[in-house]
């Protein structure tokens, strides 16, 4: 069955849909967690610490966090590999363009590939910035995420990279969530409006929720 999935264009698209939905679920949780920054450094840093003690005493310190990380890395790798292979197939299937061109499909639909590339680059930058601290602007201190976040959003490039990526995310989720429903066989005429509405709401909530943090730091609401 794994072979059937990977060898078929429909199966590979299923892998994209499932990995995309896993990342989407994570992003909703991640956004809610991030919003705790509005309640001050104590609560935010406490939450960050809890992420490491989550599951204790059944799990050891940081085990739960590492399980989440492994699942996410697997999702990103599967999603990006399928995206690359399916895109190659699609481009090969339509080698000559029409002379008479027409702009078509929505902006979100047309930007799935570029948007995905922006997101992939962002994920790398984001980890090097706020997880490992490699490219962090201030003096990165692990265990003090509140200060680290403020430092990141105190630079023009930190804000720019973050906001551009979150706009790309909104577009990607808007088409992606609805697409995933179609791929998984949940689409039909009566459900279409509901699915599109959920996609729009998810996209908007994620984008606004994530962007509210750099905006709050820039305007001094969070400092």
């Amino acid at each position: 069955m794994t072979r059937t999935l990977w060898d078929s264009s429909v199966g590979k698209k299923t892998i994209m849909a499932v990995s995309g939905l896993i990342m989407l679920l994570y992003l909703v949780v991640h956004m809610i967690g991030n919003l705790k920054i509005f309640f001050g450094s104590g609560e935010f840093n406490h939450y960050a610490h809890w992420l490491r003690t989550m599951g204790e005493p059944f799990l050891h310190y940081e085990w739960a966090l590492w399980i989440v990380r492994v699942v996410l890395v697997a999702a990103v790798v599967l999603h990006a590999t399928s995206a690359y292979q399916l895109s190659r197939r699609d481009i090969k299937a339509r080698p000559s363009k029409y002379v008479h061109k027409k702009p078509r499909a929505s902006y979100a639909t047309r930007t799935m590939r570029w948007g995905g590339i922006i997101l992939a680059l962002f994920i790398v930058w984001h980890i090097l910035d706020l997880t490992t601290g490699t490219v962090h602007s201030g003096g990165f201190q692990s265990g003090h995420p509140y200060q680290n976040v403020i430092d990141t959003f105190s630079t023009w490039y930190g804000n720019t990279i973050y906001i551009v990526a979150m706009l790309a995310l909104g577009l990607h989720v808007q088409h992606g969530f609805w697409s995933a429903a179609q791929t998984l066989g949940a689409g039909n005429a009566t459900r279409d409006r509901a699915l599109k509405t959920i996609a729009n709401v998810l996209a908007l909530v994620l984008t606004v929720g994530f962007i509210s943090i750099p905006v709050a730091v820039m305007t001094g609401v969070v400092s």
Binding site: M1, T4, L5, S8, S9, V10, G11, K12, K13, T14, L86, R89, D90, I91, K92, A93, R94, P95, S96, K97, Y98, V99, H100, K101, K102, R104, A105, T109, R110, M112, H175, W178, S179, A181, Q182, T183, L184, G185, A186, G187, N188, A189, D192
Partner: protein, 248 residues
Amino acid sequence: MKLTLRVWRQKNADAPGAMSTYEVDGISQDMSFLEMLDTLNEELILVGDDPVAFDHDCREGICGACSLVINGDAHGPERTTTCQLHMRSFQDGDTIDIEPWRASAFPVVKDLVVDRSAFDRIIQAGGYISAPTGTAPEAHATPVPKPDADFAFEHAECIGCGACVAACPNGSAMLFTSAKINHLNVLPQGAPERETRVLDMVGQMDSEGFGGCTLTGECATACPKGIPLPSISAMNKEWLRATRKVHR
């Protein structure tokens, strides 16, 4: 009406093609698009030129043979087939671009004619039912619920013209394949091959070199028969179900 036509001319599959410009005059609004091309071809033959090759058969919108991309739209500006498109959809003095279906699975044979036999091979892979031959069975012997009959009929309307492939930016045949699969899979007559049909037809579709679906919806917009976009989701559901049930 007087029109300027820019038509894709290509001698054969291997020759490079290009757009050629022609003027046609005396076109009536009541002519079909193909009759307009007939007028052009008569003139071309009179001056000793090679007439423009294009596919057509029934000219009444039911066979699926006609196939032109007109001003960037498969089958032109109306939701119908090119043979049922009338010149009243255009204005006197218009310039009209006419191109063949574009997809690597549909290679150009000559001018506006493409080879769509990839569709036949998808049908051969499972677009049939096993039925005993002989006298037709009593129609009421196999009850079909009304919603299923409607669903089957909606998909049976597909005439296999390939407009969906032509309109898709990925040259994907998902709408065609889904119409054929949904039509038979929902009916009791199609039940014996329900799983193998979807697996084999999707497999054949992939090996013909059609692209995948990115849900742009261009196919359903172009379809002269109005096969809806959610048909693809229904096929995906059948495919996932069959993958779980059949172990190969």
